[in-house]
């Protein structure tokens, strides 16, 4: 399996570029509070790809927006986000403007909407490089065209004069990815980069994610596509209703899923016969008590209804460097 063949560069002792500690986000609404994230812990190292996988509405994208400090005012945040030695929650807006794009770049979902419809592609690739003082405008043009050529575009000169609406969804996604890579950021956060794309375009995006994590930087991949995560990521975190329920190396999690939700997701995949998980994800405004997954869990016991599971570590027999963690009482 590709997951086992993926290699990270050896950087000596483990150093985390990005660390999220006990992150919680609550949206204040007219009809009460909505706890979108609860107690999220994660870290991302150099040349590492970490996938956060979960169903729509589980809060994956909120993690990305919290890291980038892009959440609206009604969001109440607690916890800590550390980028190298900086605490991002206590940085000024000016510093954040510098960090966004140059240090941590984000590839948003819905590329057609993320690109400005009234600016040509060339301008949207060149402008950020000039703004962040990476190079001169003429150099930026050369770099942009080189990047587009590397990504398999043919008529690059013509493409630079296109507007986003003249490009397909797959083209827009690759252009958006190029815009992020051109700034040579230390971290790329890719939010659902393959949503709505067909198989050929997904393999283009996969190639770009692999390129990004080996050549440039750390990649935080947010996706609901389990197969993509399996092929591209080194580590994976499974998220359900605002909580991370399982975390480990991709090969460990797929070969030996510990949480009943992860097991259910894997059983829903085509190669395992499309067996659905019974019931539906809870609304974040009306979460069940105890373990959030217990109403849909086949193994749920009395304790699961009242007790919030803590992290348990499972030692792998093959002596893998990374730990395999699960939040389940079973």
């Amino acid at each position: 399996m590709a997951g086992n063949e993926k290699k990270q560069q050896d950087n000596g002792p483990i150093s985390h570029m990005l660390e999220v500690e006990n992150l919680s986000v609550t949206f204040k609404g007219k009809n009460g509070d909505i706890p979108a994230l609860r107690g999220i812990d994660l870290h991302l190292g150099h040349n590492e790809c970490l996938a956060i996988v979960g169903e729509s509405g589980c809060g994956k994208s909120v993690i990305a927006q919290a890291i980038m400090r892009l959440l609206p005012e009604e969001a109440v945040l607690s916890g800590r986000v550390r980028y190298n030695t900086r605490d991002l929650f206590s940085e000024t807006n000016d510093t954040m403007n510098h960090i966004r794009g140059k240090e941590i770049a984000m590839v948003f979902q819905s590329p057609e909407r993320a690109l400005n419809p009234v600016y040509k592609i060339g301008r949207q690739l060149v402008e950020p490089m000039v703004m962040h003082g990476i190079c001169s405008r003429s150099d930026a043009h050369i770099r942009a065209k080189k990047m587009l050529t590397e990504l398999g575009f043919k008529d690059v000169d013509e493409l630079m004069h296109f507007y986003p609406w003249m490009c397909s969804g797959g083209m827009c996604q690759r252009i958006l990815f190029s815009a992020a890579c051109l700034l040579q950021p230390k971290i790329i956060i890719a939010d659902e980069p393959t949503k709505g794309l067909d198989a050929d375009r997904i393999s283009d995006i996969e190639h770009m994610l692999n390129m990004a994590s080996t050549e440039y930087t750390g990649v935080l991949l947010i996706t609901h596509d389990l197969k993509l995560a399996q092929r591209v990521a080194h580590r994976i975190m499974i998220m359900y209703a605002g909580v991370i329920v399982e975390s480990g190396d991709v090969s460990q999690v797929f070969s030996n899923p510990l949480h009943p939700y992860t097991q259910g997701l894997i059983r829903s995949m085509p190669e395992h016969g499309f067996h659905p998980i019974s019931g539906m994800s809870p609304a974040l405004s009306d979460l069940p008590s105890g373990c959030v997954f217990h109403p849909r869990c086949k193994h749920a016991a009395q304790d699961c209804q009242s007790e919030i599971p803590k992290w348990k570590e499972r030692k792998e027999v093959d002596g893998n460097a990374h730990s395999h963690m699960v939040r389940c009482l079973c």
């Binding site: 729509s56 397909s168 709505g196 067909d198 829903s268 085509p270 499309f274 067996h275």
Partner: protein, 228 residues
């Protein structure tokens, strides 16, 4: 029993003085209670083909036959029967509902269309919703207040009110999560078994099509056909 048949259909659009061919020489047989899978890369004309089969667009060449009759020569009464009996489910479940109406209002409009008396609306909806695994509480919600999976179930329920014989499913699970996709595929299989509805199942995902279909048709630049 053959219910829907496309006979060498092709579709082209006129664009800036020249003809833009979407697909050509495409033939398919759809039998009662069976699923025909339609696969192919994006841009090969799958969705256009679905619209032609559903009678939403006229083919540039060839004929679409429903119960043996060319759908574009049907009488007014036959045409409205065809439109009732051949339903389409689209990829974007939320977008296929009117955003200014509640799900209940959208459902009631369909019930009125098939002349179900007002006092039977609730019973009828309860019956169909039970069938597709939906709670009645979503009737008061607007499309953007329900999940993608709920919206797709509601779209299937709305289609079923018309008691269709054929459902054309255009990428019905592409916008859904993997576990919701599995739920919808199981629901569609169950509905087909219960009501002997024929499906034309369009997807770019070969795994999904193989799971659902009795026969698979691959669309490429030149249409070709293969039996599963």
């Amino acid at each position: 029993m053959l219910i829907l048949h496309a006979d060498c259909i092709g579709k082209e659009y006129r664009k800036e003085g020249h003809k833009d061919l979407v697909f050509s020489s495409f033939s398919v047989d759809v039998h009662m209670g069976e699923t025909v899978g339609l696969v192919g890369p994006s841009g090969c004309g799958k969705s256009t083909c679905a619209r032609v089969l559903a009678g939403l667009e006229k083919p540039s060449r060839g004929r679409v036959l429903y119960r043996g009759k060319d759908i574009h020569t049907l009488t007014r009464a036959e045409w409205s029967q065809f439109r009732r009996e051949v339903q389409v489910i689209f990829q974007d479940p939320v977008g296929s509902f009117n955003p200014t109406q509640t799900i209940g209002q959208s459902m009631t409009a369909v019930l009125k269309h098939v002349h179900v008396p007002g006092d039977e609306h609730e019973n009828e909806l309860a019956h169909v919703f039970h069938h597709v695994g939906l709670q009645m509480e979503i009737l008061s919600r607007y499309p953007d207040q329900i999940s993608g999976g709920q919206a797709q179930r509601a779209a299937i329920a709305r289609g079923m009110i018309m008691q269709p014989r054929v459902m054309i499913l255009d990428e019905p699970t592409s916008a859904l999560d993997v576990s919701v996709q599995a739920q919808i595929l199981h629901l569609l299989t169950y509905v087909q078994k219960e009501h002997k509805i024929a499906y034309v199942f369009i997807s770019h995902d070969i795994d999904v099509v193989e799971y659902m279909s009795h026969t698979i048709v691959k669309m490429q630049e030149i249409s070709c056909k293969m039996k599963k």
